[in-house]
Structure formats: C-alpha cells, structure tokens
Symmetry: C2
Subunit: 314 residues, 2 copies
C-alpha cells in the first residue's frame, strides 16, 4: 500500500514531504525511490511521462494535480479502468476568479481606450457603460464558472452562462447546448472561457464565435477572456479579430503552445493582454489536505469524490 | 416659487426638460429665462459662475449636482445661511466602485509587471499573491467608501479603512483620526482615496504617506488609487515615488489641474494609469428623481436630507 508521486515541472520533493506529514503511516514514494510497482494504490500526477503507469497493476485511483485533465486523458498508457480524481479547491477557484474579475472589470472600464488616450496625451471624457448595462457571458459553469459568477454578481454586471447541460445559478441567465450558443453570444459583451477542454470545446474561441458577440455596448467592441486552455482558442482568428475590430480586446492566460513562442505576433498586439499561465496556481498545502483526505476516506471505505467522467472528458 | 438651474459644462437644457417633467406645476427656469430672482426657492448648481447667487434673497436650499462640494464651498458669494444638499446616489456610487474595483484588481494581478514582460516577449511565471494576503486601505468611509468596501469584500481582499470619525463596517478593520494614520498605512498594500476634499485632507497623497505603506506583498511596491479629488494629491511626489520605486503603480482619475495639461510628465510614466475624471458620472435620470423628491418633500414640510456640514466641509 503506497502513494506514488509523479510530478513534472513542480517541486515533487516538497509535495512528498507534505504528504508524508499528512498521511502518517501510509507509505509515500517518489519516482526515484525503491518500491515495488505492485504495491502502488494511488498515483498523484502532474504532466506524467509515458512510462508513468507502467507496472501499476493494483492502482485504485489516479490523483490529478490539475483541475483540467485534458492532457492526462490523452496519455497513451493511462489505465482505462482506474478512476481519476481531479483537484477541486476553493483557493484555486478564488485565484482563477481574481484573474477573471480583474480582466472583466479592466475591459468594462475601457482600459484599452484610455491607455491609447494617455499615450496621445488626450483628455477625452468617455464614460464607460454602467455595469448593469454590461453582460458577461461565462462559458463553462463548473466549480470555476460558478465561483466567477458569484464574485461578478455583487459588482452589478448582467450575467449569462453557457454550458453543456443546463445549470441553474442564482442571478445567472443560463443557456445550454449547441442550439443555444448563438443566442448566448448575441447578448454577450465580455466572453469568459472557463470550459473544460474536450473535442467539443476545442477551438471554440474562433472568428465565427467572435463575430456573433454583441456589438455597441463597449467602445472598441466585444472582449474575450480565456483562463481555460490554449486548445480552446484559434490564435490566428484572435489576431485577425483584434486587428479588424471584430474584437475590442482579448485577455489570454493560456496559449496553443506554452510558453508562448518568442516569434508569436500576439505579443505585439496592443489590445491583447498576455499573462504567462498564472491565472491560478495549485497551492501545495491545500492540495495535500484535499488529496490526503480523499485517500484516507477511500481507504476507510468511502467513495471517491470529483471523479472524472471519461466519456464526457472532465 | 421656482427652481433655477445653473449648470456649466453639462447639458442644462436636457436637465431642465427632465425636471419639468418630474415637477409638474412647480416652475423650473434656466439662467437665460425671464424670472424674478426673488421667486427662486431652490438653485441646482454645477460649477456656478461668480454671479450665480446674486439676488436670490428667498433661497431655501442649494442643490449640488456633484457628490463632492469642495469647489462649491469655495464660491465667494455662496449664501452662508442656506443649506446645501449634495447628490448621493446609488448609481453614482456603483460607477465609482466599478472604477475602484477595476484598478484594485488590475494592480493586485500585477498588471504593470506582465505588461513589461509582454513588451519584452518574456514568459515569466510570477504568481500574484492571494486576494486574502492583499490588504486594501480605503481612505474615506462615507457612502462611496462603504460601497467600495462592500464590493471588494466578496473578492476576498483584506480590508481596512481610515476616516475622520470612527466607522464600523462589517469585514473592514477601521482606523480613525490622525493618530491612527501611520498604523493604517503600515498594513496597506493598495491605498484607495475616496475622501472629501477639506483643508485636512488636501495633499494627503504625498511622498511621506507613500513611504509608510506596506512593502513586499506586491511585486513592484505598494499602489495608490485616487478617485476623489486632484487636490488630495501632490503630483510631484507621485512622480518621484513612481520613479524611485516607493510606489509600484498609481491609478489617477483626478488631477491638480483638469484637464491634465499636455505638458504634464505624468502622461508618460508607464506605471501611472490615467483616466480623464470619468470614474463616476451623475446620471440625469437619477439626479432628477433624487432632487425632485427632496424639493417636493421639503415643500410638503419634510426636512432636507444629505445636507452638507459647512464646518466639516462635506
């Protein structure tokens, strides 16, 4: 009985020390340690290598450090019958909402316009629309989308959401399914993407989508904010839309290729606001608390929580 | 019995039409109209000229379109014995809070840093502090300060306030009076000014104040946001502090001289975010609703509300 840590690009040793402190007698091993693959009950992964799951014949669950499991589900040797538990965390949601609120409010207050005026030393009193006159359309109404809505609502914005299946959230006008997508877009001034990345949502942030957003409320045009996955966006389309006025601005925390290549023309577009995939970070302390409880509860006979639906993709 | 409109730099005719519609039989006149000065019971002013109050011997109240009355109180011919009613309006408060929240969240998410990285095509994953680790210090806890606190609280920030007299607001750590000012500043990462402009608060945003703010939580240094009056700020000190790192950034909607002169070096400072006094606008519909009710109530024998305390200055 053991937990195996297999984490790339993060401090695996620090996570292991915290798990050992939290799990008491329960054995915690890292990739380089001496252990028998058959004794591994749980594997905690982030960007697993191709051989990550080799020999783990008694695996009870895969624990994913990320909230999004799209990359993990594409792993060629992921054991098909083993449940995957994803990270759902109040701290992670809060940080993601911090990012979303900051971008949404910046664009609502016509930041791009006032920056251009400042550069030109131009005093031009244009009043932003009222928050109540501005509709934020949130794509994806899972834990992250609902948290974002909960924090945007007290600011006075009109809120609408679009999701795969209908979701009832207080104060949010809900749209669901492909058939309602255009209607959802037609009333949206600022489009926020918090979707899981699945074959259905791949490339959803494209020129056709942008051209269906509501025009006229925000000086400069509608705005997109992508805090989900680079796979959701078509960067050629974003560049075209930002340049021809179909979009007034874009805030992007994720990219088709990360790190965003030096040669990408996105860097130079003035109304494109780039952050280097820092919208939210998984905090080790809350991560260890969360997964330790799930592991110990499961060992005590309780069911796993936040298990990924492989069919659905999240 | 009549209401006289005396509004500069706004559409006086449009306001007059709305007042006439709202007040029914009650007479509404403008400066150019034929009327007897002695019949004026109420004057509704915005940037009144020197002769604005001449001959108004029967004035019952001065109604001020602005929420801030500092300029009005400096009017050389303001009748001393007549009460002044200032504009207090949910829509105005909401717009002011929109501005404050947008600036605060932008700086909390290290906007200046990521803009510099973008210009340099640099992918540098610096994670902003959690909102809970970031303290917003609000100076001024009147209607506007309280509204800003109410909207910032659900975003998770730690909040503290500083005001002339003690104010108890849920979830806000209150400091009052000159003696508590340094302690208030020492725990503040982002300083928001929503004070009335009085002799005591004139120039309060100066180098000494900036140097007492908390350092270390925000990459680049503490931040100021001024949505109150240009008279609160010393622009030479702001430039010095932004340049030598005492401040990480400043968002200014108001200036010592407005419009901000073309020659001002503030325009060119990259971590100074300038907007042309557009944080909040007085909406004519709610303004007419508000002042019509006050006028008719007063005519019916009810006391005036939101009367300025001349001694205090707001």
């Amino acid at each position: 009985m053991a937990l195996l840590l297999h984490l790339s690009d993060v401090d695996e040793a620090a996570w292991a020390a915290k798990f050992r402190a939290a799990l008491g007698d329960y054995k915690v091993v890292r990739r380089g340690d001496a252990f028998n693959a058959a004794e591994i009950d749980y594997i905690f992964v982030w960007k697993p290598k191709p051989d990550a799951f080799d020999g783990l014949v008694n695996l009870k669950a895969v624990l994913s450090l990320g909230a999004g499991v799209d990359a993990l589900l594409r792993h060629p040797n992921l054991p098909k019958a083993v449940p995957i538990v994803r990270f759902v965390d109040a701290d992670l949601s809060q940080r993601m909402s911090d990012y979303v609120v900051a971008q949404v409010t910046m664009h609502h207050r016509l930041f791009t316009r006032f920056q251009a005026d400042q550069k030109a030393r131009r005093w031009n009193q244009l009043y932003p629309p009222a928050a109540t006159e501005t509709t934020i359309g949130i794509m994806g109404m899972g834990v992250l989308g609902q948290d974002a809505a909960r924090r945007l609502a007290p600011l006075g914005f009109a809120l609408r959401s679009w999701s795969r299946s209908p979701k009832q959230v207080d104060g949010v006008d809900g749209f669901a399914g492909e058939g309602a997508f255009d209607t959802f877009l037609a009333g949206t001034d600022i489009l926020v993407c918090l979707l899981p990345l699945t074959p259905e949502t791949q490339g959803i942030l494209n020129y056709e989508t942008f051209s269906k957003l509501r025009r006229g409320r925000l000086d400069g045009g509608p705005v997109i904010v992508n805090a989900a996955r680079g796979g959701h966006q078509n960067e050629r389309d974003i560049m075209r839309a930002l340049t021809d006025g179909t979009l007034g601005a874009a805030s992007l925390d994720v990219f088709e290729v990360e790190p965003l290549p030096q040669a990408s023309p996105l860097w130079e577009i003035e109304n494109c606001y780039i952050t280097p995939h820092v919208a939210a970070i998984s905090d080790p302390d809350s991560g260890v608390r969360y997964f330790s409880k799930i592991l110990l509860d499961h060992e005590a006979g309780k069911p796993l929580i936040n298990v990924v639906d492989i069919e659905r993709g999240y």
